[in-house]
C-alpha cells in the first residue's frame, strides 16, 4: 500500500557524540564535521555555558527581587544555544525568540544589553546590526519567516552568509513556521531552521504539537533535517556546520531539531510543578549539557580545578555586570515613547508629542 506513513530512517534516538556520562562516542556521519574541534574550543564552549548559566541564574534572581519584570530562563538549553551559535560566522544573521540568551551571548550581546527588554525599559536591548541578531521575537514563530526573507536577501546579494531561525517545539504548530518552510524550500533559501525541542511549550508537552519527532516534519517540505542531542555540544556543532555548509554552498535550507530540556520554569511567572511529570526533571538533570562536557574535558586532562575556579570567577563577574547594569537602568524619558514610531516625519505623531509635552509640562509647573 502506498501509505507514506514511515520514514527511511526511523528516528529513534537523536545523534549523540558525547554521552550524558561524558564519554565521546563515534558517529561516522557526524565525526568528520567536528574532527577539527580542539579541546581549547570545547573548553571555550564550556566557559560560555557556565557563564551563560550564571547570567541566567542572576537574571532569575533579579526578577525575584523585582528588578526585572519577567525572565525566561534558558537553564538546560546551554549546549544547544552555545554550540550552534559558535558554529556561525560573524556575517551570518540570527532571528530568535525570547529565550536565546546563550545565542546572544555568543553573538556579542553584552550583559548590559540583555536586561532592558525584561526590565521594560526598551523592546530591544541591542542594535541588531551590531551583533547580527534581530530583536527578540515574542510572537511565536513569526521570526522564522523573517529569517527566510533575510536569506532571500543574502541570495540576491550573492553573499555567502546564512540566516538562522531559532524557535521552540511549540512554535512548529504555528502557520508561520510552516509557511517559512514552504518559502525556504521553494527558493532554496540559505537558511537554517534551528528548533530547540525543550519538550514543553509552557504547560503543553511536545506530543501535543507533533505526533512525530519534530525533525520528521521538514523533509515533507523538501527540507533535509537532522535530529541531535541538544545537550551535546559536539552533536550540535556538527549538525549546525552541516546545515551552514549546505546553505553556503547553495544547497538551501536545513532543519535541525536539538532535543533538549527546559530545566527551569517557562518564565519566572510560570510554575512548572503544575504540569511536569514525576521524575522528569531528575531524568533530564542526568543529561545536563554542562556536566557531561565537564567530565569529558576533565577526563581528557583539558579542564582542571584552576580553570574551574577561573571560569567561575568570570561567570560571577558577568553576573555582577548584568546586575549592576540592570540596576543602573533608568526609566526612559516619557517623551521618548514617541521616538521611532516612524522613520520619517509624521504629523500624527508630531501632534501627539506636542499634546503630551504640554500635558507633562503642567506637572512640572513649567510654562507650556
Amino acid at each position: 500500500m502506498t501509505m507514506h506513513d514511515t520514514f527511511l530512517l526511523p528516528l529513534t534516538d537523536a545523534v549523540q557524540l558525547i554521552t550524558p556520562e561524558g564519554r565521546r562516542v563515534a558517529s561516522p556521519a557526524f565525526d568528520p564535521w567536528v574532527a577539527d574541534v580542539t579541546d581549547a574550543e570545547l573548553l571555550q564552549m564550556y566557559d560560555d555555558m557556565v557563564i551563560v548559566r550564571r547570567i541566567d541564574a542572576e537574571a532569575t534572581a533579579l526578577q525575584r527581587q523585582g528588578q526585572l519584570g519577567l525572565w525566561p530562563p534558558l537553564l538546560g538549553q546551554e549546549a544547544a544555544q552555545i554550540a550552534s551559535a559558535r558554529a556561525l560566522a560573524t556575517h551570518d544573521f540570527v532571528f530568535t525568540s525570547y529565550r536565546e540568551h546563550g545565542v546572544g551571548y555568543v553573538r556579542g550581546v553584552t550583559p548590559a544589553q540583555v536586561t532592558p527588554v525584561w526590565r521594560g525599559v526598551a523592546a530591544s536591548g541591542w542594535n541588531p546590526y551590531d551583533v547580527g541578531m534581530a530583536a527578540p521575537q515574542v510572537i511565536i514563530g513569526a521570526q522564522t519567516l523573517h529569517a527566510v526573507g533575510y536569506a532571500l536577501g543574502i541570495q540576491n546579494d550573492g553573499a555567502d552568509a546564512v540566516a538562522v531561525a531559532y524557535f521552540g517545539d511549540g512554535a512548529t504548530s504555528e502557520g508561520d513556521v510552516n509557511e517559512a518552510m514552504v518559502f525556504a524550500a521553494s527558493f532554496d533559501a540559505p537558511v537554517v531552521f534551528f528548533c530547540q525541542n525543550n519538550q514543553w511549550a509552557i504547560s503543553e508537552p511536545v506530543s501535543l504539537q507533533a505526533r512525530r519527532a519534530i525533525a520528521e516534519r521538514a523533509p515533507g517540505f523538501g527540507i533535509p533535517s537532522l535530529r541531535v542531542d541538544g545537550n551535546d555540544v559536539l552533536a550540535v556543532t556538527a549538525a549546525t556546520r552541516i546545515a551552514l555548509d549546505r546553505a553556503r554552498s547553495g544547497g538551501g535550507p536545513t532543519f535541525i531539531e536539538a532535543v533538549t530540556y527546559r530545566m527551569g520554569p517557562h518564565t519566572t511567572a510560570d510554575d512548572p510543578t503544575r504540569y511536569r511529570l514525576d521524575g522528569e526533571l531528575a531524568e533530564w538533570r542526568a543529561k545536563d549539557p554542562i556536566a557531561r562536557l565537564e567530565t569529558l574535558l576533565t577526563d581528557a586532562g583539558a579542564l582542571d580545578d584552576d580553570h574551574r575556579t577561573a571560569v567561575k570567577a568570570k561567570a560571577d563577574a558577568a553576573a555582577a555586570e548584568l546586575r549592576a547594569a540592570c540596576i543602573a537602568l533608568r526609566d526612559p524619558e516619557p517623551m521618548s515613547m514617541f521616538d521611532n514610531v516612524y522613520a520619517e516625519p509624521n504629523s500624527m505623531i508630531d501632534r501627539e508629542r506636542e499634546a503630551s509635552r504640554r500635558y507633562l509640562a503642567m506637572f512640572e509647573g513649567v510654562e507650556a
Binding site: 525570547y98 521594560g120 523592546a123 510572537i139 512554535a171 514617541f338 503642567m362 507650556a368
Partner: protein, 346 residues
Amino acid sequence: MTTLEMPVATETLTLGKAINAGLRQALADDDKVMLLGEDIGTLGGVYRITDGLQRDFGARRVLDTPLAEAGILGTAVGLAYRGYRPVCEIQFDGFIYPAFDQIVAQVAKLHYRTQGAVRMPITVRVPFGGGIGAAEHHSESPEAYFTHTSGLRVVAVSNPQDAYTMVRQAIASDDPVLFFEPKRRYHVKGEVVLGGSLSDATPMGSARVVRPGTDVTLVVHGALVQTAVDAARAAEADGTSIEVIDLRSLSPIDYDPIVASVRKTGRLVVAHEAPGQGGIGAEICASITERCFGALRHSPVRVTGHDIPYPPSKLEKHHLPDLDRILDGVDRVLDRPNSLSGGPLA
C-alpha cells in the same frame, strides 16, 4: 441556552474567579459548550481562569490545543458547524492577530454567508489591556479591530458580577462574541450572585450608568471603569459631577444611556487604552455628535492611549489614560484650564 431555574448564591469572588465560575456554569448547563486554548487544561491557563475545568469536565470538553491561534479559531468554526458552542481562549491580546482571518472572514461572516443556516455561537475570550508591566504584545487593546467587523459582537467586562454573567451570556448567544477581560483587574474582588437564569439578567448589549452625575458624561469600558469612577470621586471634591457609563457592549453600542446622559450634561469624554486614531472613542464621539449635536456644549473629548505601538512597560504609565489624564480631559470638555489651554495644536 438553558432555561432551567438556577439555584442562586452569593459569593465574594475575584473577577478572574468569577469568569471561571461562569465558564463552569456554562459547561454544566450545556454539553455543547467546549473550551479550547493554549495551556487552559492542566495548567488552567496562564491566569488560571480555567482552573479545574478540565479536571471536572474532561479533556474532551476543555481542550489544550496546539500552539496556533488560527488553528484554534478555525477549529472552533468547524465545531460550531457541528452544533457546538466553542469558547476559545487567546492567551494575551497581542496573540489574536494570527487568528484574524478566521475571525473576520469566517466567524463574523458564516451566518450571513449561509443565510442564517449555520450559527457561529463562538466566544473568544481575550485578556486585554495594559498596566501590568508586561513584555511586548501582552498589553494591547485590539477591540476596535473587531467593532469595525460586522457580524461580531464585542463586549468588555469591568467587574466580577458582569464577568460571571456576561461570559455566560456570551456563550449562550447565538452570535460570535469577542469577550474582553481586563487582565489587570483579574484580582479585584466583588460580590457575585451566582446561578440564576440569564433571562433575568441585564442584557449583554446594554451599557450601565455606574455613577450618576450632571456635569460631564464619561464613557469607559474594561479596566478604565474603575479609573473613571476614581476620577469622578476626585472631581466631586472639586464640585464637578461626572456621570460614568460602563459601555459593557462595544458592538453594538448601547447609545440610549449615553444620549440621555449627554442631553443632560452637554459634555462627553470617552476614554480607552487603545490608540486614539480609529479607536472606539472616535466612533462614540462621532455617533454622539450625530445624535446630540444641539445638546453638546463642547466638542466631545477623547482620552486614549497614544498613537504609538504599546511602549516598553516602564513607559506605560505615560501611555495609558489614568486618573489625571481623564481629569484633564474633563477640564477640556468643561473649558477649564487644561493641558491644551495654551492654544490649538498644530
